[in-house]
């Protein structure tokens, strides 16, 4: 049976070698195939991840860029806010100034209005007074038949009418002034009166101006009797 054993061993070896060669080869191919497919996978994954890493880097750059920009904008915003605060404060100042001016203007306007009212009523009163004075002058001139006028050289002219009943409008005139000594002085008399010098003396003595004028009129009247 040694021969059997050797034959069996030979058959076993042959069988083992055959098995090995069949399965070994298959295994090797399989493993090789597996190895290759792993390699492929790894390669694909590597590429994928490499791409992702690149994208990640880009994003980081972008984020950095955006961060910078945000920083810049923040700076600008804060500058603008400062500027705005300044402008607001200037505006407030101006507003206050204007308010001050407007208030002053309002006050002045009210003051002016009051003044104008006062002036207007004063003017009215003055006008009424002057009217009254003029009316008074007219009444005196007409009723007394005496017109008093201021003429050149600060003289006064007295013009009598209604003296001559036959010619009421005929004027009888004398002119009066104050001389350097401060005395009354008759500078002219038309028609002339003899007594005028006497009257001048009397009025300087007594200062009775009313009698002075009344007497002159009486003298003028007396002329019409002749």
């Amino acid at each position: 049976t040694e021969d059997e054993i050797i034959l069996f061993e030979k058959e076993m070896n042959e069988f083992w070698t055959k098995i090995k060669s069949i399965y070994g080869t298959e295994q090797i191919s399989q493993t090789l195939a597996l190895r290759d497919s792993c390699k492929e996978s790894i390669k694909a994954l590597s590429e994928k991840w490499s791409k992702k890493l690149k994208e990640g880097d880009l994003m980081i750059d972008k984020i950095q860029e955006y961060s910078n920009e945000i920083l810049q904008q923040s700076k600008r915003i804060s500058e603008n806010q400062e500027h705005l605060t300044e402008i607001k404060s200037n505006l407030n100042q101006e507003q206050e100034q204007k308010k001050g001016l407007t208030d002053s203007i309002q006050e002045l306007k009210e003051e002016l209005m009051k003044k104008k009212e006062i002036i207007s009523s004063k003017n009215k009163a003055t006008k009424e007074r002057v009217e009254r004075l003029c009316k008074s002058k007219v009444l005196f001139a007409e009723r007394l038949g005496l017109e008093i006028r201021r003429i050149h050289n600060e003289q006064l002219q007295f013009i009598f009418r209604h003296i001559d009943h036959k010619d009421p409008d005929k004027p009888y005139v004398f002119t009066l002034s104050i001389n350097e000594q401060g005395d009354y002085e008759v500078t002219s008399c038309t028609p002339p009166l003899d007594c005028i010098a006497e009257f001048q003396l009397k009025v300087r003595e007594t200062n009775n101006f009313s009698a002075f004028v009344a007497n002159i009129r009486k003298a003028f009247t007396a002329l019409t009797y002749k």
Partner: protein, 106 residues
């Protein structure tokens, strides 16, 4: 509400406001000057009227009708009323009468 600026004043430049203020002040000054000048107009008109009174001592009743000569003569002793219907007498008569009230004694 004077504390709030009006919409108009918000847009008015301070310079314009200052100008307005200055103009108002100027106007005020001018008014003052005018007021002073006006005050001088009356004395001149009053002078002659006062002179008439000084001479005649007559005060007219200005409310009377124009044809009625009414007033008072203030003599040295007594005050005498005057009442003449001017339509009834000549101008000369009226003047002579009125002057007769004025004393000629020195």
């Amino acid at each position: 509400d004077r504390s709030q600026p009006t919409r108009l004043s918000l847009f008015t430049h301070p310079t314009a406001l200052r100008q307005e203020l200055e103009e108002l002040r100027e106007e005020s000054r001018r008014l003052e000057e005018d007021m002073e000048r006006e005050d001088e107009a009356v004395p001149s008109a009053a002078y002659v009227t006062q002179l008439y009174y000084k001479i005649s001592r007559i005060d007219w009743d200005y409310e009377a009708e124009p044809a009625q000569i009414k007033g008072i003569h203030y003599g040295p002793d007594i005050a005498q009323p005057i009442a003449i219907d001017s339509s009834q007498h000549s101008r000369c008569f009226i003047s002579d009468y009125l002057w007769s009230l004025v004393p000629t004694t020195w």
